[in-house]
């Protein structure tokens, strides 16, 4: 067995790992295996002291993390905040509070650098190593934005003004890259919806929800929606509730009934957690199945993603950097030494199954996501051919 990631450097399992192995009967090998994934699921109710220290103080608090950071970490760990946009919003909200309360430790030294090194980075590291890996891309991009916003602040500004400017910058990012972006996506995608459409969607994506709500509210187009859902999260119920409230004719099915309805579907709208630079889409597990089934029936698949979710990476398959949820959600009870329960949260949809990606900039072919990335970050284009 190779060194499990994240364990102590001695290679011996940490006390919490050993305890988990003893209690759940999973062999140490399986625990080590499961560390292939970015983070095995940590159940707060099973390891209360670990998470107690998170909220009340202990090792983490000793790191001088802001209470807002610790509180959000707990919410990430329990899965209370799960959807991509929600995670990013919550992170930015926490940072607003952190900015407000920041006091430079040493007078006269570069407060900005201190802020980034001693406050921002430890917070982010804490979230991604102890609580949940950061979302596929959006949170990472937002965090990079924040770091560069701090770095480009005017050197001569007073601390109070710095704080005001930073807070406004953070809030503007959320407003522009998420809220306004969703409205622009709704407008761009609504043009594709015609009377008589049967629209299929999967799970609960904020962009798709806003798109459907806006189309209903601002146009008189008549369409019906098929909401596909899956265990264990059953996130589609949230979307279903919203659509029922708006009096949209809905059908609700679980993923295993997909092939039954696909004949009737005219368009598929899906959400995204991240848009990889080769055009593949990371989204809630099950999305790839929906896209595949739609492609097999010649139904166009439109993925709605805000540009802040664009990543400059490429994933070759679904396992690397994926996240795991609570295995007990999938299968309860004593599992025994020969059974491994895997509760993955994301999967990768190849670009061939995606007819178009709807962003706030318009509808693009999946292969052009990288172009957008380049256009948005011309300073990062490091080309030998640059004129």
């Amino acid at each position: 067995g190779t060194q499990p990631k994240g364990s102590s450097s001695s290679g011996k399992p940490e006390p919490s790992e050993k305890r988990r192995s003893e209690e759940t009967g999973i062999s140490q090998k399986q625990v080590d295996d499961s560390k292939q994934f970015s983070l095995s699921y940590r159940d707060p109710s099973k390891y209360p002291d670990e998470f107690e220290s998170v909220v009340l103080g202990g090792a983490e608090a000793a790191m001088k993390l802001h209470p807002a950071v610790l509180k959000l970490g707990y919410r990430y760990a329990t899965g209370e905040v799960r959807e991509e946009n929600a995670r990013c919003r919550a992170m930015m909200e926490a940072f607003v509070q952190v900015v407000e309360d920041f006091q430079p430790a040493k007078a006269g030294s570069d407060a900005r650098n201190q802020f980034v090194q001693d406050v921002l980075k430890p917070s982010f590291t804490y979230w991604t190593e102890k609580c949940r890996p950061h979302s596929m891309s959006g949170m990472g991009n937002a965090f990079s934005f924040l770091k560069s916003a701090v770095a480009t602040l005017d050197r001569d500004m007073e601390l109070a003004e710095v704080k005001t400017v930073l807070k406004e910058t953070i809030q503007a990012y959320v407003r522009e890259r998420i809220d306004f972006a969703d409205m622009a996506i709704a407008k761009n995608a609504a043009e594709k919806i015609v009377d008589g459409d049967v629209i299929l969607t999967y799970g609960d994506s904020e962009a798709v929800r806003v798109l459907l709500q806006e189309t209903i509210a601002t146009t008189s187009k008549k369409f019906r929606v098929i909401v596909v859902d899956s265990r264990p999260l059953l996130e589609g119920k949230t979307l279903l509730k919203e659509l029922r409230r708006a009096n949209v004719e809905c059908t609700y099915i679980l993923l295993n009934a997909l092939s039954f309805v696909m004949n009737q579907v005219t368009k598929v709208f899906l959400g995204a957690a991240a848009l990889m630079s080769d055009g593949s889409v990371v989204s809630r597990v099950g999305t790839a199945c929906v896209a595949l089934a739609a492609k097999a029936k010649g139904v166009p698949v439109l993925v709605c993603g805000e540009t802040y979710k664009i990543s400059n990476r490429v994933y070759l398959e679904s396992i690397t950097s994926n996240e795991m949820g609570n295995p007990q959600d999938v299968l309860q009870g004593e599992l025994g030494p020969n059974l491994r329960v895997i509760n993955l949260l994301y999967d990768l949809t190849p670009s061939e199954f995606v007819s178009g990606i709807v962003t706030e900039m318009g509808i693009l072919p999946a292969t052009s996501v990288a172009v957008l990335l380049r256009e948005m970050n011309p300073q990062d284009t490091d080309s030998a051919f640059a004129s």
Partner: protein, 304 residues
Amino acid sequence: AAMNALLGVVERTSANTMMGLQDELKEASQVMLEWNNQNTSRSTIPLASGCELFLKYITRTFLELPDFDQCRQEILERGKRFAGISLAARDRVATMSHEFVQEGQTVLTHGWSRVVAALLLKAAETKHFDVVILEGRPDAAGAKAAQFYAKAGIQTTLILDSAMGYIMETVDIVLVGAEGVVENGGIVNKMGTYALATCARSHDKPFYVAAESYKFARLYPLNQRDLPMKQTSLDFVDTAIWQATGGQVGKDNTVPGKVELSSNVKVDNPTCDYTPAKFITLLFTDLGVLTPSAVSDELIRLYQ
């Protein structure tokens, strides 16, 4: 021609501000589009995209020269060059891409396209090759094109549209023009192009499209129904019967062999269809030879 009309508007404008001028130009574009819709069966896509590009070009000029009168002068000068560039685009396509037609090949084409004609004529200067043309119902576009190529000294064969599958095994490359090039790298062209493209794909023949860059349109069709398409009327004639009469029209101006349809027969005849990007091998444009996925790249830049 549309460019010249818009330039004329700029010249004769009585507006004093950029906003006023833009409004006049938009109105002029609308008038042209409506005229095109009502009086021709050609697609409005190249006209619409050409006008939009021209407007964007003007806006960009204004950003550089905020003074209105200066801006107007600059636009008129640049505009004259721009219009010339568009016409010269065809020649650029021909010069850059005629080498894709090789000695001794058989080229299959569809419809009448001036760009394709320019390309093939250029190729014919240095090579011998054959051209096979689909008849091009209902406007006999292919037949007219065949006349043109034959007169230019190129060995030409005419076939029925429905014979494209039959002929495909003898063909080396397929080359068509485009009414419009859409954002995902697909094209909108005369009805029959999509079928031709799928046929070429299944025979592993390269499918090339020749199109000037002003035809790049801000459309993203998801499928055939997702296009704004005009319907035209259609007559159905058994030409064998008609030919048996010696090509005469009967008394009361009836056409022998014409099938009279009852009113409950629906006729679906859009002028154009949409060919998705995956069927297209390469696009020959005045911006260079592009793969379909590069079209989006160019579009993002053109419309930025």
